[in-house]
Amino acid sequence: MSIEIQGVGKRFGDFVALENIDLSIPTGQLTALLGPSGGGKSTLLRIIAGLENADEGTVEIEGVNATQLPPQKRNVGFVFQHYAAFKHMTVAKNVAFGLEIRKRPKHEIKAKVAELLELVHLSQFADRLPSQLSGGQRQRMALARALAIEPSVLLLDEPFGALDAKVRKELRDWLRRLHDEVHVTTVFVTHDQEEALEVSDSIVVINEGRIEQIGSPDDLYDRPANEFVLSFLGPVTQLGDRSIRPHDIAVSPIEISSAVEGRITRWTRVGFEVRLEVTPTDPRFEDRVLVSLTRAEASGLGVGEGSLVWLRPMDGALTLV
């Protein structure tokens, strides 16, 4: 295990940011800390980096008890949401910073910086200042800077949070490929479930200072431990007395047994997807049911707004009471 966290707690005044966190992060994996804003995931990451001190508990990095170590002795690479670029230094100088602090020989620094800039596709920008780069380029520079010190763990705090949607998606794919190349133990914080599901090997869901569930993306999506994980990892709706994902509902235009009867009150077409809103006839079920179908499925049903339909969970679909 690369990072071993035991009984970590942290308060800010009366606010409990983290409560009794136990977590093991395996070597060489890409782990996501996922959860809503203010849930404590960034605080946990900062405690691992030493930028924040835990009130209680211990942090072990690569078998060394790091709880009392200052950040500069932990050998972690940290990437900030807002890049934290050294504004007065060129891109190359930024990347070289950690190596210069370690007093490595000049030719070694030069070679390493060139190699890293190649890796993050910034070679032609080596002599620019950070202010002359786009957000995505700055974040790649920050990543190269963190990797330069060959950290035992790489920590990323909402690394793509400040970027626009398209760049974010590109960088996300790129981070995954980079990790496959470099294999450094990586922990990143995100509140975007799609990002976590797409990029990471394992996900730790954190909410209100506690860990809700730890598992692979498939585990969490298909076998959520509780209602919170179910609803945080994807869309969810109420069918009868159960929670279910809208794409796990089968729609029938003819009456079938053990199904919820309702009338289609809204029909929205979004690209390849059709979203239905069905109002159950049974007054006990107050909430309207959301159903999502592919365009082909929807047109095959031969129904439209105002039609009566019968809904039931698909075979093998996940439901929670």
Partner: protein, 287 residues
């Protein structure tokens, strides 16, 4: 067709014009401001220049031939430079303390730092005499028994100058330090830099322009200090008389030409300082 041609091309055009149009009020306000600045600042200062050069360069030449005046100017420069160095080191440390740390009494300290701007310099001078005076001061007699005379000597002049110019560096550095934030410093730490390395390589370059403004302003203020210095220096000819005191002395002794010449030198240094600051500001804004 004719109607369409006559009609205004865009509905938004009139609004744009109205916003850009300058009414008579605008011109009146401008005139007032220019007249005010001219009567209060530009005209009096320019008269100092014309008086200095009434007889060509004679006034300045006499000035530099008088050893006492040269000594006074040298003393002013030494006191101003030393006071500026002290205030810069102190100012940067206090700014770091105010922005980066939390401690009880922080607001009181912050308010206290503005006091030198609010108190009359002559009060500063008297207060320093009370503490450091050779006879009856709190520390004065003790320090004097160690052979260190403060009042009526150069250390006193430096002390008084440093006091009146105290907040200038701090007030320039504090907002910039707050704006720069701590993320760059944290990044440096995570990359292995210790406190001292972080300060030299990251914090200091981030606030360097603010420090430069602060230093230039402090220098300008220090060169021109009069009241506090007058009290603590004793105004001894050839020893503790500074340039500003020499201006007063010459003026009172009906040596108006000499007074204007020294005043001209002092004013030109201040103007040079202001020009340097505005150039630096423009350059920093361009970054």
């Amino acid at each position: 067709m004719i109607d369409t041609i006559v009609a205004p091309p865009e509905p938004s055009a009139p609004t744009r014009q109205r916003r850009a149009r300058k009414g008579p009020v605008t011109y009146l306000v401008r005139l007032l401001v220019v007249a005010y600045l001219f009567l209060l600042v530009a005209w009096p200062v320019s008269l100092v220049v014309t008086h200095t050069f009434e007889n060509g360069l004679d006034a300045l030449r006499t000035l530099f031939e008088d050893p006492d005046i040269v000594h006074a100017m040298r003393l002013t420069v030494v006191a101003a430079v030393v006071a500026t160095v002290i205030n810069t080191v102190f100012g940067v440390s206090v700014s770091l303390l105010l922005v980066r740390t939390e401690f009880p009494g922080k607001r009181v300290l912050s308010a206290l730092l503005d006091l030198p701007l609010a108190i009359s310099p002559i009060v500063v001078g008297l207060a320093l005499v009370l503490v450091y005076g050779g006879r009856g001061g709190w520390f004065g007699p003790t320090l004097e028994s160690w052979g260190l005379q403060i009042i009526f000597s150069t250390p006193g002049i430096i002390l008084a100058t440093a006091f009146v110019a105290l907040p200038l560096v701090i007030r320039e550095v504090v907002p910039v330090l707050g704006e720069v934030g701590i993320e760059q410093e944290q990044a440096a730490q995570s990359l292995g830099a210790n406190g001292w390395q972080t300060f030299w390589r990251i914090t200091l370059p981030g606030i360097r322009w603010a420090i430069v403004y602060g230093v230039v302003l402090t220098l300008a203020r220090s060169l021109g200090e009069f009241g506090a210095v007058k009290v603590v220096s004793g105004n001894i000819l050839g020893e503790t008389r500074t340039a500003t005191l020499a201006v007063e002395e010459s003026y009172l002794n009906f040596n108006q030409e000499g007074a204007y010449a020294i005043a001209f030198l002092l004013a030109s240094v201040s103007v040079a300082c202001i020009i340097v600051v505005s150039i630096l500001r423009a350059r920093a804004a361009g970054h």
